[in-house]
């Protein structure tokens, strides 16, 4: 009502009129009511619309309340978190030499801006993302500030977080609509992401750094999963094409590979890495594990890519040939880009699955990733009663990364606009 246009001066003869009442459209009307009224209405409509719904609402509230209360009670009053602060290095870095801590932090500082850039490129940080970052950030700060980690860890983490937001900010300047500038930016980011892993390994190992056998704890999960995913993706493309090939020998070989690998659980293939692969490839266990993870992932991803290939109309390949492109060129510029785009969502699902599956490694192999070192932590006499603390902590760490992956992939899917489909 405040924005009423000024009423023109009434004509001389007109009798004085009462001020006109402005009728607002329904949605404006609603917006003008006090928030308390609106909240009341929302609660009534969404929580207590019928007796049955009221019952369900109370039951859910009771359940959620119970779980939260139990968790809060455990976290703040019952748990003995000393097992985490004392074993912090063991859980995060395993046998990595403590003197080379800066190498770990430098890796974090290299990767964080790239994750921020990915966010900025395909998504915007909404309220929920910021809440998540705040909570996860507070969690890490708590870890770095407590006990003997030293102030330098907090500084490193703060700097990494700042770099995350810098990467985000920079990529927000990239135009959203598809076009040459965006394509260029996306390609640059993809190249940097592809370079990230080798770069991290260089930072960790070269020039008096750690041996591969010293990798352990959460850091080992963080290295193995991307290797498995990227390696799997690279293997999966030729596999999928091979399976779709009209040459029987090739298609049968690829089909056999896919079906055999998918026919046995990952844990079985890890046994292969431990006992059989050693006779074939003489390489450290960590490398054999990487190979197994990539080979395992490839079988699944190949099937998703095959689905993408089959979803393309036949006319796409024909149009490529009709324009004069060779078979290979048609695959490269017409068929694969479209097929891969279609199969991104299931591939990301597979990536999240593999991320969590890295926890299996310590069951079989003498490689000590986070779960393995959790067991090592509670094997210490002092901490034997604290196993829930340790495993809950490991679960939270896994969840933080899995949640981030899932958020980014959701946003990426939604960001695929016209023409990218």
């Amino acid at each position: 009502m405040a924005e009423q246009p000024p009423i023109p001066p009434p004509a001389a003869a007109a009798p004085p009129q009462p001020p006109r009442k402005v009728v607002l459209p329904p949605h404006r009307e609603r917006a003008h009511r006090p928030w308390r009224v609106r909240a009341e209405e929302w609660v009534r409509r969404n929580l207590f619309a019928s007796p049955g719904q009221t019952l369900l609402t109370f039951a859910s509230l009771a359940l959620v309340g119970l779980v939260i209360a139990g968790a809060v009670w455990f976290v703040f009053f019952q748990a003995n978190w000393r097992v985490i602060t004392v074993n912090r290095w063991l859980l995060f870095a395993g046998g990595f030499p403590l003197d080379e801590k800066w190498r770990l932090w430098l890796s974090v500082a290299l990767v964080f801006p790239l994750i921020g850039a990915a966010y900025g490129m395909w998504a915007s940080l909404g309220r929920r993302d910021l809440l998540f970052i705040a909570l996860a950030g507070a969690f890490v700060f708590f870890l770095t500030a407590h006990g003997d980690a030293g102030p330098s860890s907090s500084v490193w983490f703060a700097a990494s977080l700042a770099l995350f937001f810098l990467g985000y900010r920079v990529c927000r300047f990239v135009p959203r609509e598809t076009g040459r500038p965006r394509t260029l930016a996306v390609r640059t980011l993809a190249a940097l992401l592809a370079l990230a892993l080798p770069l991290v390994l260089i930072v960790l190992m070269v020039g008096g750094g750690a041996q591969a056998s010293q990798f352990g704890g959460f850091m080992l999960n963080l290295i193995l999963a991307p290797v498995g995913i990227v390696g799997g993706l690279l293997l999966a493309v030729p596999l999928a094409l091979g399976r779709a090939s009209s040459l029987r020998a090739i298609s049968w070989t690829c089909t056999a590979y896919i079906e055999v690998i998918r026919g046995a659980p990952l844990i079985g293939w890890l046994f292969v890495a431990l006992f059989i692969l050693e006779d074939v490839i003489s390489s450290p266990l960590i490398v054999r594990t990487m190979i197994v993870l990539a080979v395992f992932t490839a079988a699944y991803v190949a099937e998703y890519i095959r689905g993408g290939l089959q979803s393309l109309p036949r006319g796409q390949g024909e149009a490529g040939h009709a324009v004069g492109l060779s078979h290979l060129q048609t695959l490269q510029v017409i068929v694969l880009p479209q097929a891969l785009r279609v199969s991104i969502p299931p591939i990301v699902g597979q990536a999240i699955g593999l991320w969590k599956d890295t926890a299996l490694i310590s069951i079989i192999l003498p490689l000590r990733e986070l779960v393995g070192n959790s067991r090592a932590a509670i094997a210490q006499a002092e901490f034997i009663p604290d196993r829930i603390e340790v495993y809950a902590f490991a679960a939270v760490l896994f969840w933080i990364v899995a949640f981030m992956m899932s958020r980014i992939s959701q946003r990426m899917e939604r960001a695929q606009g016209v023409g990218e489909r």
Binding site: G315, Q316, H321, V323, L325, V418, G419, R421
Partner: protein
């Protein structure tokens, strides 16, 4: 070729061009072409020659093999018997021959088959850049000229899904022309279009015909066939039944099957 279905050829094809094709060499020659899909014979002993600059419209009921025939001409389908020679190049297993032929033969599909992940401009520049190794800027300039020619230069930066069906088909024509083909094949180019968009595509095809392009057109647009074609060819059950000038076809077709077909669609 059985006597019963022997193709009848009417007088010299010249209705629309008044002997404009006299003395032109044959650019397409097919001889006894057979094509099988499993047990089904899609093409049965098809022999047809097309002169340079000639406009041939292929008619026939659905399933008569007319699409299969023109798809054999750039080997989207492999023929099982007979010979196909395009501009003196034999179409066979030799990949170099195939490549040479595909560079000379442009094709326009019923479903457009534009590349949805590329902009309109890149749909057109792809062939020249990848196959002819044309520098990017030249390819883009060529693409803009062709978009100008089909009447939609303002759509260059859009994506195919943002265009109407008629606009998409015009882009598809521009894409084929970008390879500077000597021959253009049209496989029911207006069949997937709403009626109000058919004209804009036919207008582009008319202009192309006037410019001297050799064209083979599978279509149900009888108006276009009557006005533009030098010669009509009628297919039924995989066989070439009858061919002749539009005048011959629409006024005095010889074969019973041709008469039946024409009576059903006219």
């Amino acid at each position: 070729m059985t006597t019963e279905t022997e193709a009848t050829t009417a007088e010299q094809p010249s209705a629309n061009g008044a002997d404009r094709l006299a003395g032109q060499p044959d650019i397409i020659m097919t001889e006894g072409v057979d094509k099988w899909f499993g047990d089904f014979q899609a093409l049965d002993d098809v022999t047809l020659s097309v002169k340079e600059h000639e406009i041939v419209v292929i008619l026939g009921p659905s399933g008569s093999g007319k699409s299969t025939f023109i798809r054999c001409l750039n080997r989207l389908e492999e023929h099982d018997a007979g010979r196909i020679v395009i501009d003196g190049i034999e179409l066979n297993e030799d990949v170099r021959n195939l490549r040479a032929i595909r560079e000379e033969v442009g094709m326009v599909f019923q479903q457009f088959n534009l590349f949805p992940h590329l902009s309109v401009l890149n749909n057109i520049t792809l062939g020249p850049q990848k196959v002819r190794r044309m520098p990017k800027l030249d390819a883009e300039q060529l693409a803009m000229e062709l978009l100008e020619r089909v009447g939609i230069p303002e759509q260059a930066d859009k994506y195919p899904t943002q265009l109407s069906g008629g606009q998409q088909q015009r882009v598809a024509i521009a894409r084929a022309l970008a390879m500077r083909p000597k021959i253009m094949l049209f496989d029911e180019p207006t069949s997937a279009l709403d009626p109000e968009m058919i004209k804009e595509v036919l207008d582009v095809m008319r202009e192309l015909a006037e410019s001297g392009m050799t064209m083979l057109v599978v279509t149900h647009e009888m108006g276009f066939a009557r006005e533009v074609a030098d010669r009509l060819v009628f297919f039924d059950e995989g066989q070439l039944i009858e061919q002749g000038t539009p005048q011959h076809f629409f006024e005095s077709p010889r074969e019973e099957r041709t008469k039946l077909f024409l009576s059903q669609i006219l």
